[in-house]
Symmetry: D2
Subunit: 337 residues, 4 copies
């Protein structure tokens, strides 16, 4: 950590800061330049992380040197994390395809979509039983009944289940029905929920918040890992910008950026990012080329009747066509699908 | 609701859409222009709100006419809502001043800050016992012990207590200790938490999310009201933009915009918006001039030692000076303080 | 265009609006719903485009139905525009690769970089003689001397030249030296410059502004076409968001969105989007997979000594490696390179 | 400047960086921490400003310590700059009110609006003869004829004239007709235009770009001052964010932030910020309370017929009412109006 002092900083103020640094068990290294004096902090600056150094008299700025996260960092673990979820590798050479409806609606419909996405090559079935909806008047999900439909679809198809948790009180149900628990974008900084899922031994896919920086995204993943659960998958699903032509702006550069900073697998959700069916395929292709470890895509056999997000769901036949295209791109970047 | 059709839309596609509208209990009104055919939907369009009309063949765009919220709207209730919280009016002619430390730390310190802000003119004491922190390694709050400190400070000073809830499971504690429950920016779309606080009879101050539009903000307030709790206070606390000179960008235009759209009181939090002590006072003054119903300001008698957000806390003496300035501005806009 | 009236709108106010619509040569179509009356405008709404209808008493909102641009639109011209720039097709099946240094620095260096990018497969040489720099103290480009270096490099290699214009007064020089004139992101809404380049017969590549919506981007292209020059190429180069891990956020979804709205070719600039060399290749690959018509990439044989943007320039050998990877992806999406 | 090295940086790489720093006439100060080695640069780091240090092997990050601008900075000039424009002080205790129509339309209309805003207390008449319009089909301004109308209105009322320049070639006309030249938001980084107005002796009001950081805003002002013209006024007019309820988001915190960083006067344009007439007054009041040196407000006696931005223009009578309110707020913050 570098502490930049105001030109007006006095010796007494400097002494006061140095004392605080010492108190935290760290060393100071003072360097007087022509225009500014700076104090370099030697040692693990995380010890000072929550100190309001800007509130100290004489301080102009504080520049952290180290990343504020640890367990999720590439520095902590050099090699890529490859999760094994009941035989499915996530983060390995083979891309992972998750597909299914936005929300679980009817048992038959779900099972039939599951069958179709499986035939196209998906290995994980997505489907929300608890739905975070902007409006209280929109369909909120079937709840536990929806989870049971998912379990039934799993039995029929062998697909693993990924589904969203919205409330820490629902964790027992999730442990029973989900193979991967999803934390949605709106809950990325629901820290009590992060701590809760972190206390169980179950894979978690954490979605990036609408306006979360990558640093904040990794810190939320750190919450889960710090609570004891190291089976974390990251998911970029579009960020909020001024552009309104798409529902969100898919930040594909998050893939190489996160790859550099963290060892965790990265999945892309093109459906929520673009919000319109006909834009999903180009972004899915781009995601594979950018190096993502997998995709999560909304598929519905009758989007018109979908209870949720029908405007971004693909038909099973179009998903199948897309899978064929993705296989070619995966091969072109030395991955498998 | 207006449905704009593609130039290529067929009669069959139009018939299909019209049938769906009829099914929802509404009427269609078709208008063929030179370049586009449009369908006007007559009736309460909320019935179609979760219909993915964009997924229908032939549809180019869907333009809602009505606001998606109802109970929070000015149309639903013409006059301003003035809450009476144990004798303190929120939303009336007199501005409400909430002040105190970011987090509850020590009993003595809290009571002494409470005493000082009371003397300066604050009527509500703020202080977090549960703190949403970006990093899992930062101070997370004292929990129930912190709530007890708040109750003790209330006994000593008579100030009402506002404090943040992060987890629906903490509601019983909150009912015991808080006079106003705060829902923080990061939980603005924690819909299960909104529903939970909505099911109790207790005032709630809902903060706008970092990247929430005003429409989404009002929809989150609607969640609380739809669950039965109409004692809702809105709080603008800065939104996330590209600018990094301030912690967030205070969107003061939210005050007149919300005033037009909703009957609910609006509080401004300049401390979290700017993130630096010396910028708080100008924004507090601007907020009063813009027509806010009150302010919530961080005050700490020793910001250097604050466990949280010390870099944006004012000293009690500076808060007192600010209050004197705010009184003059309040008078200039025909309000009291 | 749909005009939504306030619930309080009077018959007189409605009559006043209808009269204005008639005056513009258009027809009104009034529809009284349960909660709102709306007026549909029949005819080319562009006639009303600059009318401040929101300023009319009784008006609550104005919803345009038609796109405000015409010549650039897919509706105006169904098939993709393929420009032929001295034998190089832009917008066709074969992707176009533009490469070279950020700024033109020395004759020898430029020619040697030109030779290397040509060998790797580039067909157009990029290099700025006039450089828009955030700071007045940064290198501003060699000016006309730089243009001459470019012409010399063209003679040696046969590569076409793309270079940026910043001032309408420089157009004669540009006509002499440039094969494609670039308008940079910061000048996307320098309307006098757009009109100036629009009045010549020379291909123009227009970069999207840092915070320009796609609609505004297309309107700026419309300025050039409306002035008579239909040889327009669009270039997405990253937009400004809250994220700071990358210089800008590359909005790759602009590719399919623009493809739907416009017939013009779309080039991606991954170098300026990400701002860091090691992130360029993944985004270049993603751009090809997303369907871009070509790329413009910064290449420098000694980035450390580059006068400008060295931190995002690739070495020629890395560019060559990238080209090999891009060829595989191009083939996987049925394009050539 | 602080250069943070990668954990893997070699002695050779460090030596290479140190040599480059020495070459720039500066000194290095190496500090080896437990997790990172950092190099402090001693001397005026602006000498290294355009060096792509990130491109050097072994470098992980570069943290500037000094602001990149100089002449505009508070450090360069401690006291506030108060411009004297023909007897009108800008930046002094008395606030400056600029008002008038968006665009100059007709001579009579302009003179009558001028008379009315003068009577209400404005001292400077605004009005555009050259209008930057998003669409090429919108009214582009009367050009020189408009400038003549402004001069005529000045003769009749004694108001000074502020009007926008869009093209460096128009400078001679501007010198003849304008008292203050305005550079609009879209041209904030039209660097050739900045340099041009910087080479004349005429006050310039520079508007902040839609997505310009305050640092970039000040660097654009630095362009003008570095070219020799020190009569610069800054104007905040709203930035682009995700919020669509207002045309832009007025960033009032820019007032105290700029006040700290720079000595230049700051004007607020609430009209363009909010884009809707009824929201202008609250923001104008907030601006005065926040400490702005003046306001620029759109006033039109017949907004319905305005050629441009009629939806945000106030009627003269409403402007007069606002002025009375602003005087009260100005007094409450010890300013005059």
């Amino acid at each position: 950590m570098i502490i930049v002092l105001k030109p007006s900083a006095t010796e007494r103020e400097i002494g006061h800061i140095v004392a605080k640094i010492k108190e935290a068990g760290l060393k100071s290294h003072i360097s007087k330049g022509e225009e500014r004096t700076i104090i370099g902090v030697v040692g693990d600056e995380r010890a000072l992380q929550s100190q309001p150094l800007l509130a100290f008299p004489g301080v102009e700025g504080v520049l952290p040197i180290l990343a504020p996260y640890k367990l999720v960092s590439r520095e902590f673990k050099k090699e890529n994390t490859v999760l094994d979820v009941q035989g499915i590798q996530i983060g390995g050479k083979r891309l992972v395809m998750m597909a299914g409806p936005c929300s679980v609606e009817k048992q038959d419909l779900l099972s039939s979509i599951a069958q179709e996405v499986k035939e196209a090559g998906a290995v994980i079935l997505r489907g929300g039983a608890f739905k975070p909806r902007t409006s209280p008047y929109a369909f909120q999900g079937l709840g536990e009944e929806g989870l049971e439909y998912l379990t039934e679809a799993k039995k029929k198809t062998g697909l693993l289940i990924i589904t969203e948790i919205m409330d820490p009180r629902d964790m027992p149900m999730m442990m029973k029905h989900a193979d991967i628990i999803q934390i949605g974008a709106r809950n990325m900084q629901n820290f009590r929920l992060l701590a809760e899922v972190g206390s169980y031994n179950k894979p978690v896919m954490l979605k990036r918040g609408l306006s979360a920086t990558i640093k904040e995204f990794l810190l939320s993943a750190e919450y889960i890992m710090a609570a004891g659960n190291s089976q974390v998958i990251l998911c970029e699903r579009g960020i909020r910008t001024f552009e309104t032509a798409t529902r969100n702006t898919l930040d594909l550069s998050a893939v190489p950026v996160i790859r550099e900073l963290s060892h965790l697998p990265i999945i892309i959700d093109p459906s929520h990012a673009v919000g319109k069916t006909h834009l999903v395929a180009p972004m899915a292709k781009a995601a594979v080329a950018a190096g993502a470890d997998g995709l999560i895509i909304e598929v519905h056999s009758n989007p018109e009747e979908a209870y949720c997000d029908g405007e971004q769901a693909m038909l099973p036949k179009d998903f199948k066509t897309l899978m064929a295209q993705l296989r070619r791109i995966a091969a072109a970047v030395d991955r498998e699908l």
